[in-house]
Amino acid sequence: MIDPLAVGDDCLVLSQQLSGWITRAPTLEEEVALANLALDLLGQARMLLSRVGDEDELAYLRDPPQFRNCLLVEQPNGDFAATVLRHLLYTSFLYELYAANPDDEVAAKGVKEIAYHRDYAGLWTVRLGRGTEESHRRSAGALGALWPYTAELFVTEPGLLAPWRAHVGRVLAEAGLDPGEMPPADGTPGRDGRHTPHLTEILAEMQSLHREHPGVRW
């Protein structure tokens, strides 16, 4: 079963984060790629959140404690390596979750899109990990900062840990990156609404227009 609020919020927050790269990506091709990744996730978020209620009210009128996204997706974009590593770690989870729920329409459609996301993030992880000394250093730093947040994902989905670990492990090994042991999960803070201050900043930007001009349309 897919929890539409938890996964919908994951997709919405990650989509909003990726949109932050528009006009700022390292190259035009990667900017276009990141915008398209954001668009896929926004589409999935809209369909999942619409199962729970009005998608606009859910996106624009909730405060941080009412969001159910995992802490991993709200971690800052940082540099390109941090965005790529975050995308690898999260979409490898989302891929397994969707693949395990073929009877869910959003999952059955989304799994084909997320296969491309996982692949995109994997290729860049290897390229950065085996690139220059600087790109390796930054990738290793990003992995170290993000790795502790992955444990939360598997508290509610313990069956996905082994396939996720196998895929992520292969990519990281090829990239010459070693995450070490996964620290034990400390509950599900994001899913319970106990977020890092990053989410407050993300939502402040995402919700500002709607809150200032309720019901505004293009």
Binding site: E29, A33, L41, R46, K109, K112, E113
Partner: protein
């Protein structure tokens, strides 16, 4: 209006982002049927979950079939295999490389300009979510390729 006429009109609606092909060519149009009380019900499916063209397609269908109901379905999920031969020909003629069979992630695409297979993937994502960006090593033309999915 007869059902056949409604099918033809709906099928001729161009894709807003790839206007050289129609929604029937792309496999976005799934069904047109008569409603029990009169009028038509048109069923469409998005290529990608976030496809921003869906609203425009709905409006365009209602323009050619006033009063029609437009329903969006997700299942079965759209596949690039649903693009018709006619659609593939039109894409090729307009400089867009059509997808191969959606069995695996293909990494080589044929240049729609000179037909060369010596092409290079520039980016997995192109001007829309459904396209990747390639460049030809022989004629040097950059081109869009509709991705296999």
């Amino acid at each position: 209006m007869r059902l056949e006429e409604a099918r033809r009109l709906a099928g001729e609606v161009p894709d807003p982002e790839l206007p050289v092909v129609t929604i029937a060519d792309l496999g976005i149009l799934r069904d047109v049927r008569e409603r029990p009380g009169g009028g038509f019900e048109v069923t469409i499916t998005p290529t990608y979950s976030g496809c921003p063209a869906m609203d425009a397609i709905r409006d365009d269908i209602r323009r050619v079939l006033p009063g029609a109901t437009v329903t969006t379905v997700l299942s079965p999920p759209w596949s690039s295999d649903w693009i018709t031969e006619e659609g593939r020909r039109k894409l090729r003629e307009h400089g867009i490389s059509p997808p191969g069979a959606a069995v695996s992630l293909t990494l080589s695409a044929r240049c729609p300009r000179c037909g060369s297979l010596r092409t290079r993937l520039v980016s997995r994502y192109g001007s829309t979510a459904c396209k990747a960006l390639f460049a030809c090593a022989d004629c040097l033309e950059p081109f869009d390729h509709v991705k296999e999915i």
